[in-house]
Symmetry: D2
Subunit: 355 residues, 4 copies
């Protein structure tokens, strides 16, 4: 359904051309310092404004509807809301009869029987990621309040197969086309012990939320798909010290589904934006014959430009959930049992928790 | 935690060198024909026996403990159990002091405070995937009973960067090393409408369960990471007929998180097996100094050989869950509203459901 | 956490004296006719205005923020929002130092470390039930759209041990005191087959949501606590016809956790309102000594007067969830297998589904 | 579905006359001392053997299939299994054609389309509560390991309306009839702060699992239904000391859905056993006419005799889950913020946590 998380729960709502969009965030611990200004940095990264991003300009001013009192979280659910203001619905008229290639027009028709509000792509719109970003900002504050310095570093490593991202986007824009890209997020100073061996592995939890971001075609950790081309001797990460640091990081900071205290490293593949200004062949479901479609409106040429911060915030949400889960069920993360009680073989005092 | 699914729920239990392993499967509809023989094909694929797979030979005979009566599912939870028989725990002595690179030895120590049963890698062992395979067999039967012919096709497309997989594995085995590989699964004749726009997208649900399979480093759909190198005109899939078929399938059968009725196509990257017979540098946490580790025991040289069917069965589990969810909340999949009631703009009679 | 439901999911947010309160409702099928006016009847029942209800007067005008388009649900999450307008926070000053007996003041302090917004009881306030009522209105529309005529009948059967409820409330009001009451809800024309044998039994699901309504001390089904004083011959309900009707209804329409097609009957015990105008002995946690507390402000003398419709709407939410669950996993509710395929012993054509 | 819990998750499986029954328990912290002998006391209480309990005698010897190593929990899922041995299926022949009044025979037929294994009532049998008892034993050990002395006290307070329970049961047995009863559980030395304001209130969570025990018709906390007959002055519990103790306990230890540190007190109403030896009028669904049913077999005359310990263990499971949830999201339970940081009004140092 439209929610994510076991303890740090995120539910988003809204449509692109409706009244507004928002998020309800449940499970946020009380006492986290939080004010409207805290959202500005990530919201600005999401707005971007760079060449190749949509001319639709929204203020994106968050309203803290609930869960914050006197500048701190209360422990009750947070509702963070963004009104819609700059709407041009006229651009979206014909996509039920002639669905856009690569878009949700066709599947929405099938799934919701023609009742979906598809103006501006409705609930499928990238505008819904505003709620993800807002929740991610809170997640980062939770992680920092509870764990000290956890650092996120996110960048676009390539677009259209080129490392000069700006050039690739400019070329696609000039052609009335769009271009795909790879986004990499690295999280450092994260404790060991987050994640479960099966089903709720660290990778499972993170990939789950990442694949709900519109336009993502692939997710990989550490060496990722390159690991499939390696030998074991090449891929394995030797431990080098008593803190569990490794000489290299092919695993991306995760062993057996659980963080090992090294940097968490992941990459996602964004597809090229589906909405392009070149004429496209598609099918007219009313006339029941092939047709040519010319898309108008305001669109990003490279969604990764604005999507990079969404990736980072989605990862933060997943990590906040994994952290709260680990705090509940793994007391050993912070309170290892003394050596004498368990005998040498069972002792965990050999290891230092990064917590 | 150690369970997956909202309506078709899978919970696995057991340890590699304990009494046995198994799965409890809740939410399976009543009346599905099911007997022990139905598991044999996939269990045999998982045993493999090919060059490069472990010499540990287990009969893997499933016991249907509950949920089946007179050869059909009853609607109550299924418990399917596999006893452990061929166990050599002596091979696994020292990995708490000197954790194996790439293994869960270190994180288990941190997370479970030294109390985990790590004989044969315990609950982290690939042996736990027996439960996944058993549940996947049931999932495929559910899909076929409810949806008619749904076809799975799974293959190893490359190992160690080579298309001649057997040669790559043989070479790694000869070197006492291991090798990674890519597994591709294609599911055809799947209805449109499975998955949700956010959070429980088709990709999210499938990637979630795939990343709980030990040794997977990446998951991609359709064009996957290649899409990041494409232009939109190249990646978009034009619709070509009134059934929603597309001229190509760069989206891997999914738009907006929802299946579109074309083939579902995904690939996973398996890392090379962590257990190799070459000496490896690592750290001795008791002596608190670097050391050299020589692993013995019985290990696969290429986990993808046995893991391919696990991928397929994990996908089947996710699809069974998505199907039941869609049946609950999307009645339009089978009963589209007539054109006259909604007016031309909202009509979905334009589309033909693949259901 | 602050959400309920597996498929028909309700999440409420807000505080009594904050910006507003609301609900996000996920899983509502598309195509349900819904407009603002549909909420008026139940909101009016909740406002009540009868003698013994609070003088706080709120317009309670719902804003349909998302999930509705052209008068019908879209299949995307509904957000329904109520602004707070008539607020007297000054009445709530001292309850952290001197917590009110029977209120959440003390536990909120413990649980949220002093960060909760307790103005007007904050997130603990009965005002949060606005979201429950709004969701219940939608739930009833879903049940009626999917199942035909499902009828709810709710009444206060007694207050303060008297059947003349108005008199009991008037007497308590005159004394500056409050009074408890019993509310009974009966749901008729409900199909057989809703609920699960264990854990998500019909009673479990309904009691779960009922016990989240502030002020409820007990929940019983059918004969309820009276059954504990009966013999089996007296309590058992004999079947009387091929539709599964029973001669009496001591089970309240539920056998083995599953509805049997007879009327669902339940009762809840509301405690007397905690806020009374009589002086009360309690403890001053700042002065660390006993003290006398005089509560001011605007309070109901009998919460059941306004709570009755909340009970009904909570039951409707639970039933909508149970219905969607049953539709997903119990296809036999609507499509019984023909006799010839299963043999006489297994046939269910013996029974007629009420669906 | 057939599972319970968010962090301390219980899934039961099995049928009365199948291979066996059991439970998978996920989320149990590592390092809890646990051996087979720990289960004996509660299993013996459940067997009972008193006059009025079934002559079916099962050894009920638990097998610890997984999750325990060297006498301690490992952090991986526990599977605890009980083989079925003493089975008389012949006693259960005709209940699909002529369903027993008060039993699940009819609803199982509707819900599972005739495919349920109803021998000995199958998955609906009280035998499934073996898994609940086993999980409850572990839950109590978790609570004691994590919280120190938490004490459970459970008793039958009345049967058939009489306080002399043995006499009431003997009289019913002599008549070939059965009798209902009330069971009360009191949990002392429980910390304040468990439970959530809405939906996952302490009462909601406990009532949810209690109502999955076969034969329960009502659940009440503290004064329960008697509170509906009270005035507020009579029902409110005045605080009397700085630890949050109250002069009386009408709330049953819960305010606003959250434990307040006083004794948790609840009562459940067990109906009289449905299986009685007196002839009963019912309906023959094959002959399509009324008939008289004579039940044979082995049955309890008063299920509360064996059900009392099931109630206690179910409460323990719910409390273990609530405790882990509180540990994850409410760090203030153990680490209150110092007075000086929040100012007098927000300070929680006024209160002493019972943790």
């Amino acid at each position: 359904m439209n929610s994510f998380g076991t303890l740090f729960k995120v539910e988003i709502f809204g449509e692109s051309h409706g009244v507004g969009v928002g998020v309800v965030l449940d499970g946020c611990p009380a006492g986290i310092v939080l004010q409207k200004e805290d959202f500005e940095e990530d919201l600005a990264r999401r707005r971007s404004g760079a060449l190749g991003t949509t001319p639709r300009s929204e203020k994106d001013a968050p309203t803290l509807v609930s869960g914050v009192y006197r500048g701190k979280t209360t422990g009750a659910p947070l509702c963070i809301y963004f009104a819609n203001e700059n709407i041009h619905s006229a651009d979206y008229g014909d996509f039920q009869a002639v669905p856009r290639p690569g878009h949700a027009d066709f599947v929405a028709q099938i799934k919701y029987g023609g009742f979906a509000d598809m103006r501006g792509s409705g609930h499928f719109s990238g505008r819904l990621t505003l709620g993800l970003v807002a929740a991610g900002v809170v997640a980062k504050k939770v992680l920092q309040a509870e764990l000290g310095k956890v650092k996120f570093c996110t960048r676009i490593t390539e677009a259209g197969g080129q490392q000069d991202v700006a050039a690739a986007v400019a070329a696609a824009t000039a052609d009335g086309d769009s271009v795909g890209a790879v986004v990499e997020t690295c999280v450092s100073t994260l404790p060991a012990g987050l994640g479960q061996p099966f089903f709720d592995s660290c990778e499972s939890t993170i990939a789950h939320i990442l694949f709900s971001i519109p336009g993502i075609r692939g997710v990989e950790f550490g060496d990722g798909f390159a690991a499939a081309r390696m030998r074991g001797q090449q891929h394995n990460d030797p431990f080098v010290d008593a803190a569990g640091h490794t000489a290299k990081n092919g695993a991306g900071g995760i062993n057996g589904g659980i963080t090992n205290g090294n940097d968490l490293v992941l990459r996602v593949a964004f597809k090229p934006t589906s909405s392009i200004f070149k004429p496209q062949e598609t099918f007219d479901f009313v006339q029941n014959k092939p047709t040519t479609l010319q898309i108008r409106g305001r669109h990003d040429a490279c969604i990764a430009l604005r999507g990079a911060v969404v990736v980072e915030d989605a990862v933060a949400i997943a990590l906040a959930d994994l952290f709260l889960l680990a705090r509940a069920t793994s007391p050993f993360l912070t309170q290892p049992e003394p050596l004498s009680q368990t005998g040498a073989e069972n002792s965990n005092s050999l290891f230092r928790s990064s917590t």
